[in-house]
């Protein structure tokens, strides 16, 4: 538990275009201890997804240092220590629910095939998917699809779960439920979660800390600790006065920055 989950120093993040490059976020300094639930908030296009993609080793940084679990992001990805949940679930339409969840056991060379079958049934049960094994993604609701995507990420038992607006396309009722289920999965597994959202309420409700990003120029605007207004296991009431005040404060901050 002594290693940090993510450690970034003067990180430059952006996209290379041949010899040119466009910087999206600069001077990112960030330390995420293991086991933290961190939410990342910011306006559209500020670089939230790009930041997650660098941690996931789907994109190389333009400069600066980053370690994931004390090692290079690539090592963490190759060891399946990082998992990723996409906004659109990204289920393969030709595979059933159980076949989609089993995908990490089917691709990825030797280590993948060592996954015990019990993990699949456990993940299905944990996400309330029992009975839907043989459905195709086209036969699922948006919320069910997102549950399948989370189950698929969990069967590798990653130490860090990267979630890119996983509930962004869901209705509020479903989203609130999945928020609570995610919190209880997080408590049970003790993994680190980096959770991107553009919903201020969601960011405040879920996170132990919030990172607020701003655009033009892209940067970390503020890192805010929410633990003082929550209980020890990161629980809170949505209607709690301190939470409501916090949401209003973050909204003001974002409005001033843009």
């Amino acid at each position: 538990m002594s290693v940090t989950a993510v450690d970034a120093r003067r990180l430059q993040i952006g996209y290379r275009n041949g010899r040119d490059s466009t910087t999206v976020l600069s001077d990112v300094d960030l330390t995420v201890p293991q086991g933290e639930f961190l939410t990342i908030l910011g306006p559209s296009g500020c670089g939230k997804s790009t930041l997650l993609r660098v941690v996931a080793n789907l994109l190389d940084p333009l400069g600066g240092q980053i370690t994931v679990l004390g090692d290079a992001p690539e090592a963490a990805r190759r060891a399946r220590k990082t998992g990723f949940v996409f906004q659109d679930a990204t289920l393969l339409p030709w595979r059933t629910v159980v076949q989609n969840i089993r995908l990490p056991a089917v691709v990825g060379g030797r280590q993948a095939r060592a996954l015990p079958e019990s993990r699949i049934s456990n993940a299905m049960e944990l996400l309330g998917l029992s009975g839907l094994e043989d459905r195709y993604p086209s036969q699922l609701s948006g919320g069910q699809r997102q549950r399948v995507a989370i189950a698929r990420a969990l069967i590798d038992e990653p130490e860090i779960l990267l979630m890119d607006e996983p509930f962004g396309a869901l209705d509020e009722i479903t989203r609130d439920r999945l928020n609570d289920e995610l919190l209880s999965i997080w408590r049970e597994t003790g993994m680190t979660i980096l959770f991107v959202t553009h919903s201020i309420e969601e960011a405040v409700y879920l996170g132990q800390r919030i990172i607020v990003l701003a655009a033009n120029p892209g940067r970390i605007l503020n890192i805010h600790d929410l633990r003082p207004i929550k209980t020890d296991d990161n629980a809170c009431q949505r209607e709690d006065a301190a939470i409501v005040a916090e949401i209003a404060a973050q909204r003001r901050l974002l409005a001033e920055a843009s």
Binding site: A56, D88, L92, P93, V106, Y136
Partner: protein, 248 residues
């Protein structure tokens, strides 16, 4: 009303056939230009052997041409999709080859391979080849960026990504090309028979035309389009089987 979508087109076809049957004699069009539907149908009963002995060679050539042409197209598409240098070197050659009209190419193929079935199979294969090649190359590249990243997150090998992502993703485009190829394969076989053959529906069409036997000519046309329809139905059946459950 559940069967309207089946009954309506049957009604449409029957009404046109009925109009053809009864209005044609009144119109004064001579029988050697257009026979009535009943006379065309009669050919299938009175000259069953003639139709069958010409249908089978064409069917064999079309099916074999369809199979080999599309198989080659799929294999070349995979090669071109994953071997960048080979694609850059040879795709322009394939493009050039495709611009040669099949009618200009066919006599050369007949000269090389003689009058048997082989040249017809080759002609049918060639006209199936290019559309499937292009569709399959596009299909293999049609996975979304998120799907590619999912496989990268899982450290999937190139071959695993091909087998589990690119190949299934290419199926919708492959099948839409295969459906069209059912008709073009039959056209290829018939064109080959026109240029040099003594049997097959193409040969029958030429003979019947020169002998003013319009009933045989039309019967040959009905037989060849039946062949296309049967091939199309077979492909559609396989497609439905392979892609059951897929979102449309």
């Amino acid at each position: 009303m559940r069967y309207t979508h089946i009954l309506a087109p049957i009604f449409g076809a029957l009404s046109i056939l009925a109009a053809w049957q009864f209005l044609l004699p009144l119109s004064g069009v001579p029988a050697y230009i257009a026979p009535t539907p009943t006379k065309i149908i009669a050919v299938f009963f009175t000259q069953t052997d003639l139709i069958l002995s010409n249908f089978l060679p064409t069917a064999t050539e079309a099916v074999a041409g369809f199979f080999f042409g599309n198989l080659a197209a799929v294999m070349f598409a995979i090669l071109f999709a994953y071997a960048r240098f080979i694609r850059m070197a040879y795709f322009p050659v394939v493009l050039f080859f495709n611009t040669i009209p099949i009618l200009a190419l066919s006599p050369i193929i007949i000269l090389i391979f003689g009058l048997g079935m082989t040249p017809k199979i080759i002609i049918a294969a060639i006209i199936c080849f290019f559309p499937t090649l292009v569709n399959m190359i596009r299909g293999l590249a049609s996975a979304s960026p998120n799907e590619e990243e999912l496989f990268r997150m899982l450290s999937a090998t190139k071959f695993e990504t091909f087998l589990r992502l690119h190949l299934p993703r290419s199926l919708p485009m492959l099948f839409s090309s295969l459906r069209i190829a059912t008709a073009t394969a039959v056209i290829g076989a018939i064109v080959g028979e026109w240029i040099g053959a003594d049997k097959g529906l193409g040969a029958l069409i030429i003979q019947a035309t020169f002998n003013y036997q319009s009933d045989k000519l039309y019967a040959a046309i009905v037989a060849s389009s039946s062949l296309s329809i049967a091939l199309f139905a077979l492909v559609a059946l396989i497609e439905a089987r392979v892609m059951r459950g897929w979102a449309r």
